[in-house]
Protein backbone atom coordinates (compact mmCIF):
# COMPACT_ATOMS: atom_id res chain seq x y z
CA UNK A 1 0.00 0.00 0.00
CA UNK A 2 1.27 3.44 -0.90
CA UNK A 3 0.94 6.41 1.38
CA UNK A 4 -2.37 8.24 0.82
CA UNK A 5 -3.06 6.32 -2.37
CA UNK A 6 -6.81 6.21 -3.06
CA UNK A 7 -8.73 2.93 -2.70
CA UNK A 8 -12.09 1.93 -4.14
CA UNK A 9 -15.27 2.89 -2.31
CA UNK A 10 -16.16 -0.78 -1.92
CA UNK A 11 -12.86 -1.63 -0.27
CA UNK A 12 -13.20 1.35 2.09
CA UNK A 13 -16.74 0.48 3.16
CA UNK A 14 -15.77 -3.19 3.36
CA UNK A 15 -12.93 -2.39 5.75
CA UNK A 16 -15.13 -0.17 7.90
CA UNK A 17 -17.60 -3.04 8.33
CA UNK A 18 -15.14 -5.92 8.51
CA UNK A 19 -12.98 -4.62 11.33
CA UNK A 20 -15.79 -3.95 13.83
CA UNK A 21 -17.21 -7.33 12.82
CA UNK A 22 -13.93 -9.02 13.75
CA UNK A 23 -14.04 -7.29 17.14
CA UNK A 24 -17.65 -8.37 17.59
CA UNK A 25 -16.79 -12.00 16.85
CA UNK A 26 -13.87 -11.87 19.25
CA UNK A 27 -16.17 -10.43 21.91
CA UNK A 28 -18.78 -13.11 21.27
CA UNK A 29 -16.14 -15.82 21.41
CA UNK A 30 -14.46 -14.81 24.70
CA UNK A 31 -17.83 -14.41 26.45
CA UNK A 32 -19.58 -17.48 25.08
CA UNK A 33 -16.60 -19.73 25.62
CA UNK A 34 -16.56 -18.62 29.24
CA UNK A 35 -13.17 -16.91 29.38
CA UNK A 36 -14.61 -13.92 31.26
CA UNK A 37 -17.42 -13.73 33.77
CA UNK A 38 -20.62 -12.03 32.50
CA UNK A 39 -20.37 -9.53 35.38
CA UNK A 40 -17.18 -8.12 33.87
CA UNK A 41 -18.11 -8.47 30.25
CA UNK A 42 -21.60 -9.60 29.23
CA UNK A 43 -22.03 -11.35 25.90
CA UNK A 44 -23.16 -9.47 22.78
CA UNK A 45 -26.38 -11.50 22.84
CA UNK A 46 -27.31 -10.25 26.30
CA UNK A 47 -26.47 -6.67 25.34
CA UNK A 48 -28.78 -6.97 22.31
CA UNK A 49 -31.45 -8.54 24.53
CA UNK A 50 -31.13 -5.62 26.95
CA UNK A 51 -31.57 -3.21 24.04
CA UNK A 52 -34.65 -5.09 22.90
CA UNK A 53 -36.11 -4.95 26.43
CA UNK A 54 -35.60 -1.17 26.55
CA UNK A 55 -37.28 -0.74 23.19
CA UNK A 56 -40.25 -2.92 24.14
CA UNK A 57 -40.79 -1.19 27.48
CA UNK A 58 -40.51 2.21 25.78
CA UNK A 59 -37.58 3.21 28.00
CA UNK A 60 -35.16 3.71 25.14
CA UNK A 61 -37.37 6.10 23.25
CA UNK A 62 -38.08 8.15 26.39
CA UNK A 63 -34.40 8.26 27.35
CA UNK A 64 -33.24 9.11 23.87
CA UNK A 65 -35.76 11.88 23.33
CA UNK A 66 -34.93 13.73 26.56
CA UNK A 67 -31.21 13.31 25.97
CA UNK A 68 -31.38 14.46 22.37
CA UNK A 69 -33.44 17.44 23.48
CA UNK A 70 -30.77 18.36 26.04
CA UNK A 71 -27.95 17.90 23.53
CA UNK A 72 -29.64 20.03 20.89
CA UNK A 73 -30.57 22.74 23.40
CA UNK A 74 -27.11 22.87 25.02
CA UNK A 75 -25.21 22.78 21.77
CA UNK A 76 -27.50 25.31 20.06
CA UNK A 77 -27.22 27.75 22.96
CA UNK A 78 -23.43 27.45 22.82
CA UNK A 79 -23.37 27.85 19.05
CA UNK A 80 -25.68 30.87 18.92
CA UNK A 81 -23.28 32.68 21.26
CA UNK A 82 -19.99 31.25 19.99
CA UNK A 83 -20.59 32.18 16.36
CA UNK A 84 -20.78 35.98 16.71
CA UNK A 85 -18.24 36.11 19.55
CA UNK A 86 -15.82 33.86 17.67
CA UNK A 87 -16.10 36.00 14.54
CA UNK A 88 -15.43 39.18 16.54
CA UNK A 89 -12.47 37.56 18.32
CA UNK A 90 -11.00 36.45 15.03
CA UNK A 91 -11.21 39.88 13.42
CA UNK A 92 -10.82 42.48 16.14
CA UNK A 93 -7.54 42.13 18.00
CA UNK A 94 -8.96 44.04 20.96
CA UNK A 95 -11.83 41.57 21.41
CA UNK A 96 -9.37 38.72 21.07
CA UNK A 97 -7.10 40.28 23.70
CA UNK A 98 -10.00 40.75 26.10
CA UNK A 99 -11.46 37.26 25.74
CA UNK A 100 -8.88 34.78 24.49
CA UNK A 101 -6.80 34.27 27.68
CA UNK A 102 -9.99 34.11 29.75
CA UNK A 103 -11.69 31.57 27.50
CA UNK A 104 -8.51 29.52 27.21
CA UNK A 105 -8.38 29.28 30.99
CA UNK A 106 -12.03 28.42 31.45
CA UNK A 107 -11.97 25.68 28.85
CA UNK A 108 -9.48 23.71 30.95
CA UNK A 109 -11.66 23.84 34.05
CA UNK A 110 -13.21 20.44 34.76
CA UNK A 111 -16.89 20.54 33.93
CA UNK A 112 -17.70 17.88 36.55
CA UNK A 113 -16.41 20.21 39.25
CA UNK A 114 -18.92 22.82 38.19
CA UNK A 115 -21.92 20.56 38.85
CA UNK A 116 -22.57 21.91 42.37
CA UNK A 117 -22.49 25.49 41.13
CA UNK A 118 -24.66 24.65 38.15
CA UNK A 119 -27.30 23.29 40.55
CA UNK A 120 -27.17 26.49 42.57
CA UNK A 121 -27.58 28.61 39.47
CA UNK A 122 -29.98 26.54 37.40
CA UNK A 123 -31.75 24.23 39.85
CA UNK A 124 -32.06 20.51 39.26
CA UNK A 125 -34.29 20.50 36.19
CA UNK A 126 -33.46 20.37 32.50
CA UNK A 127 -31.88 23.83 32.68
CA UNK A 128 -29.01 22.46 34.80
CA UNK A 129 -28.29 19.66 32.31
CA UNK A 130 -28.37 22.07 29.42
CA UNK A 131 -26.09 24.46 31.31
CA UNK A 132 -23.50 21.71 31.82
CA UNK A 133 -23.61 20.80 28.13
CA UNK A 134 -23.34 24.49 27.26
CA UNK A 135 -20.24 24.96 29.42
CA UNK A 136 -18.67 21.82 28.01
CA UNK A 137 -19.19 23.03 24.46
CA UNK A 138 -19.07 26.81 24.32
CA UNK A 139 -15.52 27.57 25.45
CA UNK A 140 -13.96 25.10 23.05
CA UNK A 141 -16.22 26.12 20.22
CA UNK A 142 -15.65 29.86 20.44
CA UNK A 143 -11.87 29.44 20.11
CA UNK A 144 -12.24 27.11 17.16
CA UNK A 145 -14.60 29.51 15.37
CA UNK A 146 -12.13 32.32 16.05
CA UNK A 147 -9.44 30.30 14.30
CA UNK A 148 -11.79 29.37 11.44
CA UNK A 149 -12.39 33.04 10.66
CA UNK A 150 -8.69 33.87 11.03
CA UNK A 151 -7.95 31.41 8.26
CA UNK A 152 -9.78 33.67 5.81
CA UNK A 153 -7.24 35.31 3.51
CA UNK A 154 -6.60 38.96 4.35
CA UNK A 155 -6.84 39.90 0.67
CA UNK A 156 -10.52 38.91 0.67
CA UNK A 157 -11.08 41.45 3.44
CA UNK A 158 -9.02 44.03 1.57
CA UNK A 159 -11.01 43.34 -1.59
CA UNK A 160 -14.17 44.06 0.39
CA UNK A 161 -12.66 47.30 1.67
CA UNK A 162 -11.73 48.50 -1.80
CA UNK A 163 -15.27 47.76 -2.99
CA UNK A 164 -16.62 50.08 -0.31
CA UNK A 165 -18.09 47.63 2.20
CA UNK A 166 -18.21 48.48 5.91
CA UNK A 167 -16.60 46.32 8.61
CA UNK A 168 -19.92 44.78 9.56
CA UNK A 169 -20.75 43.99 5.95
CA UNK A 170 -17.31 42.46 5.38
CA UNK A 171 -17.73 40.20 8.43
CA UNK A 172 -21.24 39.10 7.44
CA UNK A 173 -20.88 38.87 3.68
CA UNK A 174 -17.25 37.92 3.17
CA UNK A 175 -15.62 36.52 6.33
CA UNK A 176 -18.63 34.45 7.43
CA UNK A 177 -19.31 32.70 4.11
CA UNK A 178 -15.60 32.26 3.42
CA UNK A 179 -15.04 30.56 6.77
CA UNK A 180 -18.34 28.66 6.81
CA UNK A 181 -16.91 25.32 5.59
CA UNK A 182 -14.41 25.42 8.46
CA UNK A 183 -17.05 26.56 10.94
CA UNK A 184 -19.33 23.74 9.83
CA UNK A 185 -16.51 21.31 10.60
CA UNK A 186 -16.22 22.91 14.02
CA UNK A 187 -19.98 22.38 14.48
CA UNK A 188 -19.55 18.72 13.62
CA UNK A 189 -16.64 18.22 16.00
CA UNK A 190 -18.15 20.16 18.90
CA UNK A 191 -21.52 18.42 18.80
CA UNK A 192 -19.49 15.25 19.21
CA UNK A 193 -18.03 16.73 22.38
CA UNK A 194 -21.50 17.71 23.57
CA UNK A 195 -22.46 14.03 23.28
CA UNK A 196 -19.48 13.02 25.42
CA UNK A 197 -20.67 15.37 28.19
CA UNK A 198 -24.12 13.78 28.31
CA UNK A 199 -23.34 11.40 31.17
CA UNK A 200 -21.80 14.23 33.17
CA UNK A 201 -24.86 16.38 32.54
CA UNK A 202 -27.24 13.67 33.70
CA UNK A 203 -25.16 12.75 36.75
CA UNK A 204 -27.32 14.63 39.23
CA UNK A 205 -31.06 14.68 39.79
CA UNK A 206 -32.09 13.23 36.47
CA UNK A 207 -35.08 10.87 36.23
CA UNK A 208 -34.38 9.78 32.69
CA UNK A 209 -31.94 10.15 29.85
CA UNK A 210 -29.38 7.88 28.23
CA UNK A 211 -26.64 9.02 30.60
CA UNK A 212 -28.87 8.58 33.65
CA UNK A 213 -29.69 5.01 32.62
CA UNK A 214 -25.99 4.14 32.55
CA UNK A 215 -25.33 5.72 35.95
CA UNK A 216 -28.28 3.83 37.48
CA UNK A 217 -27.11 0.55 36.03
CA UNK A 218 -23.80 0.98 37.86
CA UNK A 219 -25.57 0.51 41.20
CA UNK A 220 -26.93 -2.90 40.23
CA UNK A 221 -23.85 -4.11 38.36
CA UNK A 222 -26.06 -4.28 35.28
CA UNK A 223 -23.13 -4.33 32.90
CA UNK A 224 -25.30 -5.23 29.91
CA UNK A 225 -27.27 -2.00 30.41
CA UNK A 226 -24.04 -0.02 30.73
CA UNK A 227 -22.57 -1.45 27.56
CA UNK A 228 -25.78 -1.12 25.60
CA UNK A 229 -26.19 2.51 26.70
CA UNK A 230 -22.61 3.39 25.85
CA UNK A 231 -22.78 1.82 22.41
CA UNK A 232 -26.14 3.45 21.75
CA UNK A 233 -24.77 6.92 22.58
CA UNK A 234 -21.86 6.15 20.27
CA UNK A 235 -24.22 5.22 17.45
CA UNK A 236 -26.29 8.37 17.91
CA UNK A 237 -23.06 10.39 17.83
CA UNK A 238 -22.01 8.61 14.66
CA UNK A 239 -25.37 9.38 13.04
CA UNK A 240 -25.05 13.07 14.00
CA UNK A 241 -21.56 13.16 12.52
CA UNK A 242 -22.78 11.57 9.32
CA UNK A 243 -25.61 14.08 8.94
CA UNK A 244 -23.19 16.97 9.37
CA UNK A 245 -20.80 15.49 6.85
CA UNK A 246 -23.47 15.01 4.20
CA UNK A 247 -24.94 18.44 4.91
CA UNK A 248 -21.50 20.03 4.60
CA UNK A 249 -20.80 18.34 1.31
CA UNK A 250 -24.16 19.57 -0.03
CA UNK A 251 -23.73 23.14 1.12
CA UNK A 252 -20.04 23.79 0.63
CA UNK A 253 -19.24 22.09 -2.64
CA UNK A 254 -17.54 25.29 -3.76
CA UNK A 255 -14.80 24.81 -1.19
CA UNK A 256 -13.88 21.24 -2.07
CA UNK A 257 -10.65 20.38 -3.90
CA UNK A 258 -9.70 24.01 -4.35
CA UNK A 259 -6.02 24.92 -4.49
Amino acid sequence: MRLRAPISRRLYVGASIAFPLVLLIAWWWVTTAGYVRPLFLPSPQSVVAEGWRQIEEGILWRDASVSIYRIVAGWSAATVLALPIGILMGNYRLVEGALEPLVSTIRYMPVVALIPLSILWAGIGDAQKILILFIGTFFQQVLMIMNNTKAVDMTLIRAGQTLGFSNGEILRRIVLPASMPGIWDTFRITIGWTWTYLVVAELVAAQDGLGRRIMDAQRYFATDTIIFGTIFIGLLGFATDYLFKVGGRKMFGWAETTR
Binding site: T162, L163, P177, A255
Partner: protein, 263 residues
Protein backbone atom coordinates in the same frame (compact mmCIF):
# COMPACT_ATOMS: atom_id res chain seq x y z
CA UNK B 1 -1.57 70.19 -16.15
CA UNK B 2 -2.78 69.02 -12.75
CA UNK B 3 -1.72 65.48 -11.89
CA UNK B 4 -4.39 62.85 -11.28
CA UNK B 5 -2.50 61.48 -8.33
CA UNK B 6 0.05 63.41 -6.35
CA UNK B 7 2.25 61.89 -3.62
CA UNK B 8 4.33 64.28 -1.50
CA UNK B 9 6.98 63.47 1.14
CA UNK B 10 5.59 60.02 1.79
CA UNK B 11 7.13 58.14 4.71
CA UNK B 12 6.33 54.70 5.95
CA UNK B 13 7.95 53.31 9.07
CA UNK B 14 7.06 49.89 10.46
CA UNK B 15 7.68 48.89 14.04
CA UNK B 16 9.81 45.79 13.59
CA UNK B 17 11.44 43.66 16.26
CA UNK B 18 14.89 45.11 15.75
CA UNK B 19 13.60 48.68 15.97
CA UNK B 20 11.79 50.90 13.48
CA UNK B 21 12.12 49.93 9.84
CA UNK B 22 11.86 52.69 7.24
CA UNK B 23 10.25 51.19 4.17
CA UNK B 24 9.45 54.39 2.26
CA UNK B 25 11.47 57.54 2.81
CA UNK B 26 10.37 60.90 1.43
CA UNK B 27 8.85 59.62 -1.77
CA UNK B 28 7.39 62.06 -4.31
CA UNK B 29 5.43 60.94 -7.34
CA UNK B 30 2.96 62.52 -9.73
CA UNK B 31 0.80 60.48 -12.05
CA UNK B 32 -1.14 62.07 -14.91
CA UNK B 33 -4.70 61.20 -15.86
CA UNK B 34 -4.92 57.93 -17.80
CA UNK B 35 -1.21 57.37 -17.46
CA UNK B 36 0.02 53.79 -17.09
CA UNK B 37 2.82 53.73 -14.51
CA UNK B 38 4.72 50.60 -13.61
CA UNK B 39 6.60 50.45 -10.33
CA UNK B 40 9.53 48.06 -10.18
CA UNK B 41 12.14 47.28 -7.57
CA UNK B 42 13.72 44.50 -5.57
CA UNK B 43 11.56 42.53 -3.18
CA UNK B 44 11.11 44.40 0.06
CA UNK B 45 11.60 47.82 -1.53
CA UNK B 46 8.15 48.94 -0.43
CA UNK B 47 6.41 48.90 -3.80
CA UNK B 48 3.45 46.87 -2.58
CA UNK B 49 3.27 49.04 0.53
CA UNK B 50 3.14 52.12 -1.70
CA UNK B 51 0.24 50.63 -3.64
CA UNK B 52 -1.57 49.68 -0.47
CA UNK B 53 -1.20 53.27 0.81
CA UNK B 54 -2.60 54.71 -2.42
CA UNK B 55 -5.45 52.21 -2.11
CA UNK B 56 -6.17 53.52 1.37
CA UNK B 57 -5.64 50.09 2.89
CA UNK B 58 -2.52 51.11 4.81
CA UNK B 59 -2.07 54.37 6.66
CA UNK B 60 1.25 56.09 5.93
CA UNK B 61 3.44 57.37 8.77
CA UNK B 62 3.47 60.82 7.17
CA UNK B 63 3.04 62.56 3.86
CA UNK B 64 0.22 63.80 1.66
CA UNK B 65 -1.60 61.90 -1.04
CA UNK B 66 -3.98 63.75 -3.29
CA UNK B 67 -6.30 62.09 -5.75
CA UNK B 68 -8.09 64.65 -7.93
CA UNK B 69 -6.92 67.24 -5.38
CA UNK B 70 -8.70 65.45 -2.54
CA UNK B 71 -6.68 63.76 0.21
CA UNK B 72 -6.77 59.97 0.36
CA UNK B 73 -8.04 58.94 3.78
CA UNK B 74 -9.15 55.39 3.21
CA UNK B 75 -10.30 52.96 0.56
CA UNK B 76 -12.77 54.34 -1.93
CA UNK B 77 -14.65 53.39 -5.05
CA UNK B 78 -12.60 55.83 -7.12
CA UNK B 79 -9.83 53.20 -6.97
CA UNK B 80 -9.97 49.57 -8.08
CA UNK B 81 -7.54 46.99 -6.71
CA UNK B 82 -6.28 43.76 -8.25
CA UNK B 83 -4.30 41.53 -5.89
CA UNK B 84 -1.69 38.94 -6.76
CA UNK B 85 -3.49 35.95 -5.31
CA UNK B 86 -6.82 36.35 -7.12
CA UNK B 87 -8.88 37.20 -4.02
CA UNK B 88 -12.09 35.85 -5.55
CA UNK B 89 -15.13 34.97 -3.47
CA UNK B 90 -15.03 31.20 -3.91
CA UNK B 91 -18.68 30.64 -3.02
CA UNK B 92 -19.93 32.98 -5.73
CA UNK B 93 -20.16 32.33 -9.45
CA UNK B 94 -18.07 34.41 -11.86
CA UNK B 95 -21.11 36.59 -12.48
CA UNK B 96 -21.84 37.13 -8.79
CA UNK B 97 -18.20 37.92 -8.05
CA UNK B 98 -18.28 40.79 -10.53
CA UNK B 99 -21.77 41.92 -9.59
CA UNK B 100 -20.71 42.06 -5.93
CA UNK B 101 -18.55 45.07 -6.85
CA UNK B 102 -21.67 46.93 -8.00
CA UNK B 103 -23.66 46.45 -4.81
CA UNK B 104 -22.48 49.75 -3.40
CA UNK B 105 -23.41 51.62 -6.55
CA UNK B 106 -26.81 53.12 -7.07
CA UNK B 107 -27.46 51.18 -10.24
CA UNK B 108 -30.65 49.31 -10.98
CA UNK B 109 -30.76 45.57 -11.38
CA UNK B 110 -31.03 45.62 -15.17
CA UNK B 111 -28.21 48.09 -15.56
CA UNK B 112 -26.02 46.00 -13.29
CA UNK B 113 -26.71 42.83 -15.21
CA UNK B 114 -25.85 44.54 -18.48
CA UNK B 115 -22.61 45.96 -17.14
CA UNK B 116 -21.54 42.62 -15.66
CA UNK B 117 -22.10 40.81 -18.94
CA UNK B 118 -20.28 43.57 -20.82
CA UNK B 119 -17.19 43.16 -18.64
CA UNK B 120 -17.37 39.38 -18.82
CA UNK B 121 -17.16 39.82 -22.61
CA UNK B 122 -14.32 42.29 -22.28
CA UNK B 123 -12.10 39.92 -20.31
CA UNK B 124 -13.04 37.00 -22.54
CA UNK B 125 -15.01 34.90 -20.08
CA UNK B 126 -18.27 34.60 -21.99
CA UNK B 127 -19.74 31.16 -21.32
CA UNK B 128 -18.25 31.01 -17.83
CA UNK B 129 -20.82 33.25 -16.13
CA UNK B 130 -22.13 30.48 -13.89
CA UNK B 131 -18.76 28.82 -13.21
CA UNK B 132 -17.32 28.73 -9.70
CA UNK B 133 -13.78 30.05 -9.17
CA UNK B 134 -12.52 26.56 -8.32
CA UNK B 135 -13.36 25.49 -11.86
CA UNK B 136 -11.17 28.20 -13.40
CA UNK B 137 -7.46 28.30 -14.24
CA UNK B 138 -5.19 30.91 -12.69
CA UNK B 139 -5.36 33.18 -15.72
CA UNK B 140 -9.14 32.98 -15.85
CA UNK B 141 -9.41 33.74 -12.16
CA UNK B 142 -7.32 36.83 -12.62
CA UNK B 143 -9.56 37.94 -15.48
CA UNK B 144 -12.49 37.78 -13.09
CA UNK B 145 -10.52 39.86 -10.59
CA UNK B 146 -9.72 42.43 -13.28
CA UNK B 147 -13.36 42.60 -14.39
CA UNK B 148 -14.41 43.02 -10.76
CA UNK B 149 -11.96 45.89 -10.27
CA UNK B 150 -13.03 47.64 -13.47
CA UNK B 151 -16.78 47.12 -13.52
CA UNK B 152 -17.60 49.98 -11.15
CA UNK B 153 -15.44 52.28 -13.27
CA UNK B 154 -12.85 53.52 -10.81
CA UNK B 155 -10.67 56.25 -12.29
CA UNK B 156 -7.51 54.64 -10.86
CA UNK B 157 -6.60 50.98 -11.16
CA UNK B 158 -4.09 49.62 -8.68
CA UNK B 159 -2.49 46.30 -9.58
CA UNK B 160 -0.19 44.48 -7.18
CA UNK B 161 1.83 41.92 -9.17
CA UNK B 162 -1.40 40.67 -10.71
CA UNK B 163 0.27 38.20 -13.07
CA UNK B 164 3.08 37.15 -10.72
CA UNK B 165 1.59 33.73 -10.00
CA UNK B 166 0.87 32.83 -13.63
CA UNK B 167 3.05 30.77 -15.95
CA UNK B 168 5.02 32.69 -18.61
CA UNK B 169 2.67 31.96 -21.54
CA UNK B 170 -0.49 32.88 -19.64
CA UNK B 171 1.22 35.99 -18.32
CA UNK B 172 1.98 37.17 -21.86
CA UNK B 173 -1.63 36.69 -22.91
CA UNK B 174 -2.89 38.52 -19.83
CA UNK B 175 -0.59 41.48 -20.52
CA UNK B 176 -2.01 41.83 -24.01
CA UNK B 177 -5.53 41.49 -22.65
CA UNK B 178 -4.86 44.18 -20.07
CA UNK B 179 -3.60 46.60 -22.74
CA UNK B 180 -6.67 45.90 -24.85
CA UNK B 181 -9.00 46.52 -21.91
CA UNK B 182 -7.10 49.63 -20.90
CA UNK B 183 -7.41 50.90 -24.44
CA UNK B 184 -11.21 50.44 -24.34
CA UNK B 185 -11.74 51.83 -20.85
CA UNK B 186 -9.01 54.34 -20.20
CA UNK B 187 -8.00 54.78 -16.60
CA UNK B 188 -4.96 55.72 -14.58
CA UNK B 189 -2.99 52.60 -13.74
CA UNK B 190 -0.42 51.94 -11.05
CA UNK B 191 1.09 48.56 -11.75
CA UNK B 192 3.54 46.93 -9.32
CA UNK B 193 5.77 44.18 -10.70
CA UNK B 194 9.27 42.80 -10.42
CA UNK B 195 9.25 41.70 -14.07
CA UNK B 196 11.10 44.34 -16.10
CA UNK B 197 9.81 43.06 -19.46
CA UNK B 198 6.27 43.30 -18.17
CA UNK B 199 6.79 46.84 -16.88
CA UNK B 200 8.29 48.08 -20.17
CA UNK B 201 5.74 46.31 -22.32
CA UNK B 202 2.75 47.75 -20.46
CA UNK B 203 3.65 51.14 -19.10
CA UNK B 204 4.06 54.73 -20.26
CA UNK B 205 6.46 55.25 -17.40
CA UNK B 206 8.58 52.89 -15.35
CA UNK B 207 9.45 54.01 -11.84
CA UNK B 208 12.35 52.17 -10.23
CA UNK B 209 12.34 52.19 -6.45
CA UNK B 210 15.52 51.95 -4.43
CA UNK B 211 15.53 49.37 -1.70
CA UNK B 212 15.17 50.11 1.97
CA UNK B 213 14.38 52.86 2.33
CA UNK B 214 12.24 53.07 -0.78
CA UNK B 215 12.89 56.20 -2.80
CA UNK B 216 12.62 56.87 -6.49
CA UNK B 217 15.84 55.79 -8.09
CA UNK B 218 14.85 56.25 -11.68
CA UNK B 219 11.78 57.53 -13.49
CA UNK B 220 11.89 56.36 -17.07
CA UNK B 221 9.68 57.40 -19.95
CA UNK B 222 8.87 54.40 -22.15
CA UNK B 223 8.86 55.99 -25.59
CA UNK B 224 7.64 52.94 -27.45
CA UNK B 225 4.62 53.75 -29.61
CA UNK B 226 1.25 52.06 -29.07
CA UNK B 227 -0.31 49.75 -29.98
CA UNK B 228 2.58 47.54 -28.99
CA UNK B 229 2.68 44.10 -30.59
CA UNK B 230 4.01 41.35 -28.35
CA UNK B 231 7.21 41.08 -30.45
CA UNK B 232 8.15 44.57 -29.31
CA UNK B 233 10.11 43.07 -26.45
CA UNK B 234 12.64 41.72 -28.95
CA UNK B 235 13.39 45.09 -30.52
CA UNK B 236 16.68 46.85 -29.94
CA UNK B 237 15.17 49.99 -28.38
CA UNK B 238 13.25 47.83 -25.93
CA UNK B 239 16.47 46.01 -25.06
CA UNK B 240 18.22 49.32 -24.52
CA UNK B 241 15.56 50.52 -22.06
CA UNK B 242 15.60 47.14 -20.36
CA UNK B 243 19.37 47.27 -19.92
CA UNK B 244 19.06 50.55 -18.02
CA UNK B 245 16.31 49.30 -15.69
CA UNK B 246 18.05 45.99 -15.06
CA UNK B 247 21.21 47.86 -14.17
CA UNK B 248 19.34 50.00 -11.63
CA UNK B 249 17.63 47.00 -10.06
CA UNK B 250 20.83 45.01 -9.89
CA UNK B 251 22.54 47.83 -8.06
CA UNK B 252 19.72 47.88 -5.54
CA UNK B 253 19.71 44.13 -5.16
CA UNK B 254 23.41 44.14 -4.35
CA UNK B 255 22.86 46.93 -1.83
CA UNK B 256 20.04 44.93 -0.27
CA UNK B 257 22.16 41.80 -0.03
CA UNK B 258 24.87 43.81 1.68
CA UNK B 259 22.35 45.12 4.24
CA UNK B 260 20.94 41.68 4.88
CA UNK B 261 24.38 40.12 5.05
CA UNK B 262 25.44 42.69 7.63
CA UNK B 263 22.46 42.25 9.91
Amino acid sequence: MKPKLSIRDLNMVFEAEGGPLTVIDGLNLDVATNEFVAIVGTSGCGKSTLLSIVGGLTEPTSGTLLLDDRPIIGPGRDRGFVFQNYSLFEWMTVERNIDFALEKSRMGRAERRELVSEYIQTVGLAGFEKALPKQLSGGMRQRVAIARALVYRPSVLLMDEPFGALDAQTRGMMQELLLKVWDEHKSTVLFVTHDVDEALFLADRVVVLSSRPGRIKNDLNVDIPRPRPYEVITESHFAELKRGVLHDIREETLKMMAIEGAS
